[in-house]
């Protein structure tokens, strides 16, 4: 059996890559995919921790994260499409509607 620490390290690397992408990219869609990446890294952590602790509740928690992620994608993509209708661009740099 692979030590849970290795799974945690892999999840940490995935989370870090997702966070870097979120900070460096300017395309709203790609930033969204990076958020999905980070959510997946957390799910992997929950599953390996649950397995190491002999607790099925880790997998139940992943279930809820999945539902929240699905809801987030639905609303987020709807917002991106609505913004695109207004501005014809998916770059977050050009969004300054809320600037005072």
């Amino acid at each position: 059996m692979v030590d849970p620490g290795w799974y945690m390290a892999l999840a940490g690397a995935l989370f870090l890559i997702g966070a870097l992408g979120l900070l460096l990219r300017r395309n709203a869609l790609v930033m969204f995919m990076c958020i999905e990446l980070m959510l997946n890294a957390v799910n992997l952590t929950l599953i390996s921790a649950g397995r190491a602790l002999n607790d099925i509740n880790g997998q139940v928690a992943v279930f809820f994260v999945l539902v929240v992620a699905a809801a987030e994608v639905v609303v987020g993509l709807a917002i991106i499409v609505a913004i695109f209708r207004l501005r014809a661009s998916a770059s977050v740099d050009e969004l300054s509607e809320l600037r005072g």
Partner: protein, 173 residues
């Protein structure tokens, strides 16, 4: 031994997909990279006996979420020649520094800290975490039933919100 082999293979696949998501110029390639990561992570779930979660991951994430992403990419259109100039001053340096700090912190804890990842890692019982449908449904509909109802409400609100956003028209001023 078999699990170590699967871990290395799928871990590398997940990392390669993740890097593709961040680096690819074309959002379609990013979506394909994300698909690779999602499938690799699903295999890692199976390797850890989380069978139901792996199936849901493939159906919901690789099926529904990624299809939605591709729909929106096709709707918005793929603009290949996106400028990659950084507009915020020092952004790349700050991000790089942050990444180094985080990695050094994690490595420091792992290598030098008096810290166990999980206390009970020595005595795992494969039966206790065998994620069959029955095993997941037990706690889901007893201990977590309130959270389950809350997610039902959340999904309803999200669907209604998405429809409201899709119907949005700019008011004639």
């Amino acid at each position: 031994m078999a699990e170590a082999f699967i871990f290395v293979l799928m871990g590398l696949g997940a990392l390669a997909g993740a890097v593709t998501v961040v680096v690819a110029r074309n959002p379609v390639y990013s979506a394909i990279g994300l698909l690779g990561t999602l499938l690799s992570v699903a295999v890692l779930y199976v390797a850890q006996l989380a069978h139901l979660v792996a199936a849901v991951q493939i159906i919901v994430y690789a099926g529904a979420v990624l299809t939605l992403f591709l729909f929106v990419i096709m709707m918005i259109g793929v603009d290949e020649d996106q400028s990659r100039d950084e507009t915020l001053p020092y952004q790349r340096w700050v991000v790089g520094g942050l990444a180094i700090v985080i990695v050094a912190f994690a490595a420091g804890i792992t290598l030098f800290g008096d810290f166990e990842w999980v206390p009970a890692a020595t005595a795992t019982d494969p039966e206790a975490t065998n994620g069959t449908v029955e095993a997941i449904a037990g706690p889901l509909f007893t201990d977590w039933v309130l959270a389950f109802e809350a997610t039902a409400l959340l999904l309803t609100i999200a669907a209604a919100g998405a429809i409201a956003l899709a119907h949005y028209r700019r008011r004639e001023a």
